[in-house]
Amino acid sequence: MSEAALAQKIDDPGLDETAAKLTPERIRTTINRVLQQENSARLKAFVGTCVSCGLCSDACHFFLSHDRDPKYSPAGKVKQTLWEMIRTKGNVSQEFIVRAATIAYTECNVCKRCVQYCPFGIDTAYLMTVVRRICHLLGVTPLYLQDTSHSHASTFNQMWVKDDEWIDTLQWQEDEYRDEIPNLRIPLEKEGADFFYSVIGPEPKFRTQLIGQAAVLMNECGVDWTMPATPGWDNSDMSMYSGDLEIMGRIKRAHFETARRLRVKRVVMGECGHAYRSVYDVGNRWLGWREMPIPVIHALQFYWEMLKEGRLKVATQMEEPCTFHDPCNVVRGMGLHEMARDVVRAFCSNFIEMEPNREQNYCCSAGGGVINCGPPHTKTRVLGNRVKAEQITATGAKVLIAPCHNCHGGLEDIINHYKLDVKLVFLIDIIYAHMHKSNAI
């Protein structure tokens, strides 16, 4: 069996065991509720307009990585899921639901690259979120992803981080980096600060150095900032991806309300893509806000601002050849690619572009909640993104910059599986290492 074929049937109790309990009646009513009541105009327009030309296929890294297997093409995924649900008016089997969930949750990163390839701009990513919504309402969600969503629901963060652990972690990082910057502070609960710095669950959990490094950056730039000591500090949002829109709304509201409570002018968020999508694109809309109710800027924008204002100064440049991965959610999602390049070029003397790049970049294959579907589905996303490995190899770069947590996780697995000779870093890693630190001893 080929590598690709092996990736086909995956055991995930979150899918198999839950689907086994479904009655045809429940499947039918749930599908029709989502198709008829929750979604309508865009769904009808997208599905009714698709001329099934298959031109969207070249957009999808899954399709390209599986040697152009049409089952992985965007339209192919819609055919295997929504078309059939619509055609049968919701009369589909348990196995069908498992397959649909597998496709929608693990074989599509809702990266929206296909929108840029379909002549009509049909949003297959949106269609996949409709499928996810159906699966969520049926209770058929990948186990790990559901666990993440449960964590959101009960702790308001993604990784079951307890309230005191959070504060401890911040104080630990403060301590840690004081060795280098004696006057370093991580101000907690400072009302009226200029901004609150929000991060995603994995930062306090296992990428703590990112918080410390960010604190060094804040210190050096002399900004008036704070972090909350209460739930609401986590900007991430896997419920948005699992289809649990109700929980998504709650955690987004908690995040925005925390900013309000602290009376900050805006929120600056760390290097995470999906959190940004949730803030400016999905969560805000669910809560009834056209834009973000309080300005939220991404780390890339913040670095760029600091650099342009002259607060962030370059001390040395990294000479190793490096390349930059454009995370879908902040590039195709927010157009931050030029700002990112300005910052990268300032700190790296030997920057090489991937091809294609900017808004045309291939997704990391971890986004859209796929990485949170956990170990059972790792192979799916790694084998489904061979093109990313090839794209990275072609640059000849030794350092790969990915300013997004999910991208980071996905790329790490890709680097290991395809044995790529690159070092993966966040942009803050480079900034931290090469910035001018006037307060350091």
Binding site: R42, V51, Q360
Partner: protein, 219 residues
């Protein structure tokens, strides 16, 4: 002959155009009111400049990355759509019929050019059929319906061509031609041929979202 011909070129034309225009208008009203009720984002995010940007860019050959990745398909689709729209509207015989019925007329194509355009349309449809049979990603999502629709589009051109050259019985052919044209018009609102109207609608919305909200190109 007289009664069939006057029927298909008279009342039936009216019916066809009414269904075609009424159907599209109805679809437009239905979708927009649905969007107003259930998908209100659509209107909050519509942005004229970026809607037009997207619509126009995607009408320029080779302006998008995907068009450059599939040059043959790009040439064929553009040629096909241009000929499909231009040839019937500016065909001398059609214009003369309008002139005799309503006293209005407009510029016409030389018949020789219309002839070539008809060939282009028919050849493109053959290309599409073959492509849908042999290109895996197209084949996978293509069903019998797609071939029926392609047939519906091909038929007015095929019969028009045969009638023009008076191959087979002319009187039968001309009536078939008129009927085929009417069938195609009627099919537009009820099949994916409605992309004639949904193209600007979807592009307009997605173009606005990409351009105004996401600050990025949608091509």
């Amino acid at each position: 002959m007289h009664s069939i011909y006057t029927f298909v070129t008279g009342p039936l034309v009216w019916v066809a155009f009414l269904v075609f225009i009424g159907g599209l208008a109805g679809k437009f009203v239905y979708l927009t009111s649905l969007a107003k009720n259930k998908d209100p984002y659509v209107f909050s995010y519509l942005h004229l400049k970026y809607a037009l940007r997207s619509i126009i860019v995607w009408l320029i050959p080779f302006s998008t990355r995907n068009m450059r990745l599939n040059p043959v398909m790009t040439v064929v689709t553009f040629a096909f759509h241009i000929c499909l729209i231009i040839a019937p509207i500016f065909l001398l015989a059609h214009v003369i019929m309008f002139e005799e019925a309503w006293g209005v007329s407009w510029w016409t194509l030389p018949d020789a050019v219309a002839d070539v355009m008809t060939w282009v349309v028919l050849a493109s449809i053959v290309f599409f059929v073959v492509r849908r049979r042999v290109v895996p990603e197209a084949r996978y999502v293509t069903g019998p319906k797609e071939f029926v629709i392609l047939g519906l589009v091909a038929l007015p051109f095929l019969t028009g061509f045969l009638a023009y050259y008076q191959i087979f019985d002319y009187q039968t052919m001309i009536i078939l031609h008129v009927l085929a044209g009417e069938a195609m018009l009627v099919a537009i609102p009820f099949t994916w041929l409605s992309h004639v109207m949904l193209y600007p609608m979807i592009r307009g919305y997605m173009g606005s979202e990409f351009g105004a909200e996401r600050h990025v190109k949608d091509w």
